[in-house]
Symmetry: C2
Amino acid sequence: MPTVSNRSGQTPSSPIRRLVPYAEAAKERGVKIYHLNIGQPDIRTPKIGIDALKNADMEVVAYTHSAGMQSYRDKLVESYKQYNIDVDADEIIVTNGGSEALLFTMLACLDSGDSIIVPEPFYANYNGFAKSLGVNIQPITASIENGFALPPIEAFEKAVTPQTKAILICNPSNPTGYLYSKEELEQLRTIVQKHDLYLIVDEVYRDFCYDGNTPISVLSIEGLEQHAIVVDSISKKYSACGARGGLLMSHNKELMAAAMKFAQARLSPSTFSQILGEAMLDTPQSYFDEVMSEYDSRRKLVVNRLNKIPGVVCPTPKGAFYAFVKLPIDDTDKFCQWLLESFNHNGETVMLAPGSGFYATGGLGTQEARLAYVLKEEDLAKAIDCLEAALAVYPGRVQTVSAEVAS
Amino acid sequence: MPTVSNRSGQTPSSPIRRLVPYAEAAKERGVKIYHLNIGQPDIRTPKIGIDALKNADMEVVAYTHSAGMQSYRDKLVESYKQYNIDVDADEIIVTNGGSEALLFTMLACLDSGDSIIVPEPFYANYNGFAKSLGVNIQPITASIENGFALPPIEAFEKAVTPQTKAILICNPSNPTGYLYSKEELEQLRTIVQKHDLYLIVDEVYRDFCYDGNTPISVLSIEGLEQHAIVVDSISKKYSACGARGGLLMSHNKELMAAAMKFAQARLSPSTFSQILGEAMLDTPQSYFDEVMSEYDSRRKLVVNRLNKIPGVVCPTPKGAFYAFVKLPIDDTDKFCQWLLESFNHNGETVMLAPGSGFYATGGLGTQEARLAYVLKEEDLAKAIDCLEAALAVYPGRVQTVSAEVAS
């Protein structure tokens, strides 16, 4: 029998995947599960987009330009101005989801054996893409004590090796909800300029900022024109995860030409997602106001409730729709399995994403978990009821953990 | 300025791309171009699919299972039986286009430094995917003299090195239209069994077979259960190129588990393309009869007309919708540029894909070109009028080439 590639062996399985059989078994036993383990919102996709797709003339569903339809990219150019992002249409490549944008970015920047610095905890699939391409992730550990702020710049300085080609951050962050400040981005500028690195920023949660905070795009920072690459997506902004609409943007023409080769090899992004995406650029502000108000209420509910549970530490997320929490338990991998396998609260339980999957450094995150507040408040409250009841009886409960948390 | 990856430098640009500025300039001069350079059919996408998409309940466009919707995969299982393909739903991973299926297949089978044997001329983007992953293509040259049949099995035997991990063919072939016989597939079986290789077969043109020929899927060949991987797509079968619907299939469980890791890293295939694809499985036979009759007429027109032009050699394609022809000229790259830059016939010209882009061996294909017969007969006839008139006056015309062609 032929053998599979080493790269597939090194590519981690989805950290949540291990739990799926336990979730399925629980459902078969009639237990209701609140899914806080995945960033699949219950928010409706803007009707203006769905209607455009339904009304589109689609006699022949044809390829589009490999970089995306000109009309869509032109309209994106206008739309990005509101974020102080000043790009041309030829500085945008439309992709099949943010995932493909990240893949093309890594392919264009990084060779097998190269390294990329990523503050941890980070979006677990970064590791999947990196490993599949033979790229090493050099983690720099952020701390729950200061809400997962950018680690000291000296830590980045120390981590840079001759193999280091890029720094990758997610802003606002999945999984921590941390929103990087202009000052932090400027600190990163110092490092990437000094060592001639790319600064790749996953900004797919840009529109989810709370407490009056404004998102700072890396493309608005002066002096990063040749360094900055932005990965974006319609999945979260418009709750259209299944559309697979994404893009990458950069002012660096050589980088865009390199990425374009990979875009041409796969011929075309989805015509459907582009029709949807272009129409959704006209989504009325009232939609976003409503969605943000909803997420803000959910966020407050989650943070308030969790921090009242003895031993639980939940920093206040400034962006995205995740809370990354510390729990007074032995091991969240075990706890999450136990929640599905051995626990229910009035016939209900909750599914979380164990923290360890978001760290590249072994042994970290074992008391942490990510909660996606993507359910309506009523369900979130019940999910936290389950969590609270579970923590009271979980056999692996440990001494209360104390941590001073910046709000 | 940070530098782009070596892999992007090694990845070839689309071979047709170089011609695009000349095509644009010709259009600006008011010249009409018949595009035979790309496999984008003018055939309508089945209405049953478009209607299903338009009528779908899409309040929240959510992720699906990373391997594709269960309902879609179950229905695919039934549908494949007509091709003597007996797969389970968990032996299918639905992808964003055949391109992504090929990417996942290569990632799962091949490491950087590995080699893959591909008969040339081959679909140019195989090289793009291979180079992007550090994989070397070992070409084995097929010959226009026997209509691009499988090269002698001894040539494969000689090419196998310790780095060789797979053989990749396209059946029926883009770009040659050649349809591999059961005997040829069995010859490949001997080689892949002996050397423990994967046999990857791109079967996206399976439904386009002429003269009563039946397509033989590699998955129907006994003894290849652990070796065979099929790449498929809805792009060509249903003229739905922009939907980005594809899949990979294999009975090899280890291989599927490896591919699944990459599928999970990108979360989900397109929900839209799956709704479309599932509904299109109910496309009435009359649609395919009509389409095949149309393509068959086009094929006959192209082959008959081309072989009447002095010096032109056009083997009769048994499948797909391409003709790979030899022209009595110095260099098709130059000729194709000249067609756009310096020629018109009553204000019209034709765009072809130069043959060299389909060969990995340097210097081959310089007198060859691929024509996609994806336009209606009236336009195809005019396109060939242009080609005929062009060959009569092209300054780089050479002595008539003679080649005995198997029909």
